[in-house]
Structures are given as C-alpha cells and as structure tokens.
Symmetry: C2
Subunit: 367 residues, 2 copies
C-alpha cells in the first residue's frame, strides 16, 4: 500500500487508535464554556510550585499521570513519549516528563506541536516501531507571557487581536490495536473526577460508543506572509492553516464536507476570518464546519481573553476534553484537526523578523 499521498500527505496503513486521552487545565480554563469537560481543573495555576515553568511541567505531568490512571496497563508498555511546549529549550517537557523514564522525542512546532506529535506518533505506530506511545503538549499563560512578552507583574495591556495562552496540557495514548475490552468497558467521560479544587460548571457525561483513531496526516510547511505583529498571531498562522487544509483536500481529492468539522488550533476570532477568506479565494468554503479551539475554550468577552485562547495546551486540552469525546459518542464521524503554530521567539521578534506559521493536519475518525 502506498502511504504517501500527493505531495505532502500520509495515509496510514492501519488506523492508529487513540485509546485514552486526558486533560489538565488552570482556573480560567475551568471557568470557560468547556469547564466541565476537563479531567482536572486546578484552582491554583502554580499547582503548588514556586515558578510558572515548574507549574507548566506539573500540568504536563498531571495529564500523563491521568492517562496512566485511565489505562494502567500502559504504564509499562509505552515505548516513546513525543512531547513539546512553548518555552525556550522545552523545559516544561524535560522537567515534566523526566520521572516517567520513557524514551522521549522532543518536538517543536510552536502551538502546532500537538498536531506534530500526533502525526509522528501515529506514523511510528503504523510503521511498527511502537505498539503504544504517549503524545503530550502543554502551555501556561504566565510562563508564556514571561517567555514571549512581559512578566505578568508588569501589568501590560493587551490589544484586541491578542490571544490568551491556555494554561493546561492534553495527553493521548496512541495504540496499534483496538481495545479488546472496549465493548465491555464502554466508558463514560466523567469530568472533574480528579479535581474538586475548582469548577463553576456542571460535569458533563458522554458515553463512548466508538473507538477513535488517526487515519491520515498532512504535514505542515513553514508559511511566511511577512506579518510581524506578535499581538496578532491568528493572522500570522492563518496562511499556514490555509496551506495545510488546501494541500490536504487536494492530496486526498476531498471536499470540506468529507469532514463533520475542520478544527484549527488557536487562530482566534481574527485568524478565523483570515483563514475563511484565504480558503474561499482558493475555492473552498469551510465556514459551515470550521471550529477553532481558541474560540471554544473561553467566553472571550466575559473572560477578557480578546481574540481567544492559544498555546500548545489550547488545541491539546480541547482535543482531549471536547473533540475526541464527540467522535467517541458518535456525534461526529470524522474531523480534520489542525493545530496551528506561530514560529517566533522574543529574540526574532525584537530583531524585527516576521512571524511565520505552520499547521499540522491530522484526520481523526470513529472506528
């Protein structure tokens, strides 16, 4: 079977099952519209740590620990962890995951890293290199502000096009085989089970009627439209999302209605407009089925998050809490999931460089 589709897409020979998923988020995310859906919501964004970086590591560790709690047999059979975050030199992942002592591939695609990890993870399993592995990514509002803009204590103001980095992490257990016990143990997604610290929303139950699997991937290219405004990252990333969606549809000769939803990571309300406009110029209208994780995770007006949520933890936690359960319940049959990343650092920004984008596309279906 030819796994190489078109110029830049991959069709997996066998579906790679996302057997379990877990999310751990901060206080503000818990207060948002998806608040009842996360596995763990902390009232303390430091999670008991002294620094924001340690806190981000703790969220990542918590998400992976929850995954192993849900599927205890995986603890000793996971062959790789594929992980990444937004901080310089990926310290959230290094310090968050070192105690698991699992062979690790560190990844960086800015906020697209969740898609990159699912892409490479599913290919490693489909290629026979692992039977089970973990993908995990994270971000933290306070560590990201300090890394990319200003420490919170400066009290900087934020323009309307700016996004709010999500405090949280999402982790996934990718498996070669179907869950042999799935029919016996059809699961209820029961949120807040590990939390209790803070939650303003009622818990939400969804019954898992289907297994969920990755079946195809379209790998992102770096796309640079020369935009330099780090307070408008949606506009920086939208061209990359457009490029990946367009290449995906062309490579597989599909129309947008092949998918129940086409879901970007963190374009926010500004980037969403740009994406829909750019895609319509290329002849594709996805406006009736586009969702953006950054728009979903906050009530922007009430919560003051401007254009929406962002960060490696945004797409990752929304996928685990909101998207995968809807595929598992049968509400959606198939989605194209595209975490989007803005490839900047404070150094490149201060040196006047543009902010290129990248978006990694992953097809996730019910099985």
């Amino acid at each position: 079977m030819n796994k190489q589709i078109g110029v830049s897409s991959t069709k997996l020979e066998s579906p790679v099952f996302i057997r379990e998923w877990a999310s751990a988020v901060g206080k503000k995310e818990g207060e948002g519209p998806l608040g009842g859906l996360f596995d763990f919501t902390s009232g303390d964004d430091l999670l008991g740590n002294k620094t924001w970086e340690e806190a981000e590591s703790a969220f990542q560790k918590k998400a992976v620990s929850l995954l192993f709690e849900k599927e205890q047999s995986a603890v000793n059979s996971v062959r790789f962890i594929l992980a990444g975050d937004l901080l310089g030199q990926e310290i959230a992942s290094s310090f968050g995951l070192k105690d698991f002592r699992v062979p690790m591939f560190g990844l960086y695609g800015a906020c697209s890293t969740c898609g990159e990890s699912l892409s490479l993870g599913s290919m490693l399993i489909d290629g026979g290199f692992a039977d089970q592995l973990v993908c995990v990514t994270s971000s933290h509002f306070a560590s990201a502000e300090k890394e990319f803009r200003y420490p919170l204590d400066y009290g900087s103001q934020r323009p309307p096009a700016s996004t709010w980095t999500v405090t949280g992490s999402g982790a996934y257990l990718l498996c070669k085989d179907r869950d042999t016990n799935f029919n016996d143990k059809q699961k209820s997604e029961l949120s807040q089970k590990n939390s209790g610290i803070y939650n303003s929303m009622p818990a939400c139950f969804i019954e898992r009627k289907h297994e969920v699997a990755i079946t195809a991937v379209t790998t992102g290219k770096i796309i640079d439209y020369g935009i330099k405004d780090s307070m408008n990252m949606g506009a920086c990333m939208a061209p990359a999302a457009c490029d990946t969606i367009y290449r995906h549809l062309k490579d597989f000769e599909r129309q947008p209605d092949y998918y129940d939803k086409i879901i970007t990571g963190d374009l926010g309300i500004v980037g969403q407009k740009v994406l829909l406009e750019l895609l319509s110029q290329k002849g594709f209208d996805i406006s009736d089925r586009h969702i953006d994780c950054g728009i979903e995770i906050f009530n922007s007006k009430e919560q003051g998050t401007n254009a929406g949520g962002s960060g490696c933890g945004c797409a990752a936690s929304v996928l685990a809490a909101y998207l995968l359960p809807r595929i598992a319940s049968g509400e959606w049959k198939r989605i194209l999931f595209l975490p989007t990343g803005a490839l900047l650092s404070k150094v490149s920004f201060n040196e006047g460089k543009s902010i290129p984008g990248i978006a990694h596309g992953v097809v996730i279906e019910q099985m």
Copy 2:
C-alpha cells in the same frame, strides 16, 4: 519482522541510506584539526548577516543547499525536513529552512537533536512514509552564548570544564533505496569546494567505496543526576550517554567491539572521563574505541576551547565531515553514533534547576 528490540531500541527492516551529506562551519572550526574536511568554511561567522541568529539560519540553509547541489535530483523529491537547533523556539531552523517549502518536523533534543533527527528520519523512511528526506541541525557560538550565558561583548571568562559551541551545520539526505548510480559515480570527498574564503589546512580527499546506511536506533531517555553546573555540560550529559549506550548493548546483546567506534556528540574531555567511568561500573569498557566529536573538532589547548566543542552543529558537522567519509571509504565498518544533549534553558538555570541530559543512539554502517 519485529522492529522493536528490547525495551527501547529499534531495528530497521531495511537499511536507510545516507546518500549525501554536507557541512558548513565557521572560521574557528575551519582552523581546527578537521578544517580541511568541511564542505564549506566561512571566514565571516555572520555569513554577511546582521545578527548571530540570522547567521545560524544561514549556516543551516547553506548545509541543505550544498546537499541539494550534491544530489540535485533530491530537490523536488524530498518529502520532509527534520530539523532543530539550540535557540529559543528554534528560530535558526524556522528562518533557515522556510524558503525550501518542504513539509517540516521541528525537533528539540538540545545537542542530541542530530541523533533525534536521524532516528525519526530513518524510521519514517523504513515505515514507508517517505522515500527521501533531509535531516539538518545547527548551532552558532555567538547565538548560543547570548541564548544561554552572556553576549560576547561582555567578555565573560570561561572555566576549564566549559565547552565551546560549534558554529556550523550538518545536513543529510536519507533515502529508501540504494543509489543506482553509485558504482558509476563513486565519489571523492573533496572538501572546500564551495569555500575558498578561509582555510588553514590542506584539503582532504577520500574515495567513497561503500554506501552508508542507518540500520538501528536506540532512543534516549531524560537522565538527571542533579548536576547544576552549566559550565560543565559534559558531566551533565555523560550519564545520559552511558544510559543509552548501556541500553543499546543490552537490547541488542552486543559487546562494544561490535563497533569500530562508539562516538558521542559533545561530552568534551571532562564528560568523556565521566562516561568511561560510569560505563566501566556497568561492566563495559569502551575506552579503546570511544571518540567524542567535541574533542575532535578543536585543538582545545591551542584554540582555547577548554573542554572541547559542543552544540547541535558539533556532532552534525563532524558526522558529515569526518565520520561518514570514514565509513564510506571502508576505514570503519560500523559505528554507534550518539549525539548528547543538555536539557537546560537560561530560565531553568537561573531558577536553580538541574541540567538533565539525553542521548540518541544511531547505528551507521557501510553497505
């Protein structure tokens, strides 16, 4: 065929050929013992750019361009680029590679990233996801000093255990198939062909009698001995190198003499001593066949590089200029190549965290 060997190693089903390789380095590297072996040596470490970060991008771009010059048919058939560097948010790779417009996976494993890219790259090819792809990593002395320690203009002094970040990049063309024209065009490694800007050493010619391929991989775990001295990164990384070598030999039930050379990335003279001692405690003596790229690349005493070279560009440029040609010429039959990474950032260092290490092992043989 079972590709999963032991707990953490991978045996590729078919050899993945490293059909071409290229290296581009700075002035000091050109003055070192390997000076005559690099494809391109620049007398200007800025390569005509305004910032050190742009310069690092330019070295990475140069290495990939040289690769495509050597194998022009690859320009349009490369399916992925797997790349990484040491800078925050990997800006050297993003800005260095965006013009190639090839789907990209950004990787981060500190100075081990070269090994990580060859590991994932060879698995992607062996799994049928690409027929040709490029792996490339880079580092730059000045951008790394600014990122991790102090800008050069501060004139900070360096303790004896410190290493000197290599200015340079190494790139590799990984292919599924043998080079059908190999026997016709058996190549001479002719260094300096693209340079002429600066070179103190005579050019070195090696005839390629064999093809070169990756056959196995052992993936690194994060190993943390609690060392906090960022001026002694050799000691921070040596436990990770020991762990990966030990797991590799156990997984494959091999003795060190299975390899002509066991080659670490950038332990330097301090880290080398620690590695040999740690491995001997585990019952393995590799002292008669251990090489460290960081020790090879500089005449430390004369060049004032203290414990040796380091950085993503160290192992990468030495592999391309010095190691692969020796396998291709028949001098060595088989090596275990282990780039080593120190997982710190200036933030984690300033917050008093330890410096964990990671090392990714790759088996490279003549074919």
